[in-house]
Symmetry: C2
Subunit: 359 residues, 2 copies
DNA sequence: GCGTTTCATGTAATCCATTACATTGCGTTG
DNA sequence: CAACGCAATGTAATGGATTACATGAAACGC
């Protein structure tokens, strides 16, 4: 029927805001004011601070607003008020279940204070981090919580509205919340030592991340405490992926390294490690004990269930958001580094080393 | 030292945009124009369509922009242009690894077309879905991709800039991309039948979701094809969580139901099911075969590795975003429901039923 | 050399809400 | 009853960009 018309319309480059199909248009505060027979100021007040307008007027306005389905244009509002009540949480990898609990914590506190949270996945790419951070410079968000060890550059005077969670940065000006990775990793290795292990391999995370360096430090210190030599041949590093864990163990085994336990810098690598051990016919924990880090949701469902260092994920998120809110309310609050503690959770993947010598 | 001053300051309610600490202020296009000795229009043009300003002017402006670290106020820009080049992807649960691959697909296509993606976790709460959807009504985002089976209400005339991914809604006006759940579930059950299973239990997902109904339908149809009775006692439903899978199997076992295979509506419930079977001393797949749905990243790392229906996660995301972009460019494109196919991936959790009778 | 393009730039309207300040009307109070 | 305070509402400036239209200068054709 109207095929010609519609094809013709589609053929030309369309104006961005073609109202061709729209039967009703989007409402503005002016229209509401006109229909409710008040000024725009009164409409604005009726919506922002209802207590200052008279009951009759307020009700009339609210009725019109509801009837016409009016939603104030947040861009205009935010432009005027210079705040958005929106924060962006940057996470390296949504596929990593570790972060989901942290996000929950962030959102809980955010909502309590009237903030909304949007998530940006950065895949550890500087470019993406920067793109999301630019939203702050461009006034589309009030602040950023970053879960990487880099602070994006925001061309802004004064204190950056950025808080660091899970990781930390050296920059003294940036508040961070994270766990005592040295102590936590140390406790994990201490436990293996207590079980009787003497040859403990270590799968490190990306060395660019300070927390990974700390976990390695914890491992080294624990070995030293036990008067065990730190053997570089037993240390491999990976990128936090399951596959990296597999590859690391395969490497150790193919090199003929002897070890009765592996401490992994995160749970996903531990899962990979268990898998690789299994496919080489080694049993966990009888032949090799495995310890992870993070305590992701799947950790208790591996078989055997994974012994791991449980980070207080929810608390990390809550604390980070609380700090950011504080910072947004008062740019002068001094930055601080808040260190939480992480506890070892013993499950089935660890046991005393078997008495017979492993190959 | 300045403790009194700072306490005093903190005590009073601060003006929202206290510039107290800021040594330099945030720049506006006016300042750039003044410094570069051109009009604001020229600055805007130099940044938006550099080819229309002369080389000399452009360079001068860019130099000033860079030197002062100027970022245009996106609120002002978006207010004027009525577009944000931002879309929000609503996902029920970031902890579910299924969605992460879908998000990747969305982001890939989005970036190709100059869109940014922000993620909103809804936890299946209508209120949260609505809150994020309101961002579109409030002009803070151009469109929404929702991964739930509900379409948020956006008080907007005409076609809603919403696309549905992974799930689908009955509403004909909303484009959806999803897999043929009936066929895929059927294929999974067919496979179990082929292996020789006759007593196949089913763990359903939330019945509110159409795709879960479809998966159940696929299960029923496959049983009928195999001329097997559909036994309601072998059907339990769960909420997609690992724990739900555990509980479902425990329920079946405690009821003394006899079954040699379980088909689960998602992988997490399958992981829970395997766990529950294991803790009752039943081996997978020797005693009971387990099949999941989704093929999340962890599915190949369970032991035994999980046989599951692989959804084309990346394609779901890409297609959804492509549809949304198309819709944003032209509100008149007809809505469509795009159905992709999902393939069974056979791994170690399935085997022919053991000849001896199980308890 | 004069009219006509073309190119580069400027002027000012516009997007839509918030809010300081102004105004109005009414009830108190001395 | 003049003066005042207060409550309710209106007027208009404002936030920071984009962009239609206007202008001026240079280039061009004949």
């Amino acid at each position: 029927m109207s095929s010609e018309g519609s094809r013709g319309k589609r053929a030309v480059a369309r104006a961005p805001r073609s109202a061709a199909v729209a039967p009703a248009r989007v409402r503005t505060i002016k229209e509401i004011a006109a229909i409710a027979n008040v000024s725009v100021a009164t409409v604005s007040r009726a919506l922002q601070r209802p207590e200052v307008v008279s009951d009759a007027t307020r009700q009339r306005i609210q009725e019109v607003v509801k009837r016409l389905g009016y939603t104030p244009n947040a861009l205009a509002r935010n432009l005027r008020t210079a705040r958005t009540r929106l924060i962006v949480a940057l996470l390296p990898d949504i596929a990593n279940p570790f972060f989901s609990e942290v996000i929950r914590g962030i959102e809980q506190v955010a909502h309590e204070s009237g903030y909304s949270v949007l998530l940006g996945e950065t895949r550890s790419s500087l470019v993406r981090e920067q793109a999301y951070a630019d939203m702050v410079a461009a006034r589309q968000a009030d602040g950023i919580i970053t879960m990487s060890h880099r602070v994006p550059k925001i061309p802004m005077p004064g204190r950056l509205p950025v808080v660091n969670a899970c990781e930390y940065v050296k920059d003294k000006q940036i508040s961070s919340v994270y766990v005592d990775n040295v102590a936590a990793a140390g406790a994990a290795v201490d436990y293996l030592v207590t079980l009787g292990h003497r040859e403990i391999a270590f799968i490190a995370g990306p060395p660019s991340s300070p927390i990974c360096v700390d976990r390695e430090k914890g491992y080294r210190l624990a070995l030293q405490r036990a008067q065990l030599a730190v053997d570089p041949a037993l240390m491999v590093s990976g990128d936090f992926s399951i596959e990296a864990g597999e590859r690391a163990v395969e490497l150790l085994l193919s090199q003929g390294q002897s070890f009765s336990a592996v401490f992994c810098s995160n749970d996903e690598m531990a899962i990979g490690a268990m898998r690789a051990l299994g496919s080489r016919g080694l049993r966990v924990p009888e032949d090799v004990s495995v310890v992870g880090f993070d305590d992701i949701r799947f950790a208790r469902y591996t078989s055997p269930a994974l012994t791991t260092v449980a980070q207080p994920k929810n608390a990390l998120g809550r604390e980070a958001m609380a700090m950011l809110i504080e910072l947004l309310a008062d740019p002068e609050v001094p930055p601080r580094k808040r260190v939480l503690s992480a506890d070892l959770v013993v499950r089935g993947s660890t046991a005393p080393p078997s008495p017979r010598k492993r190959k």
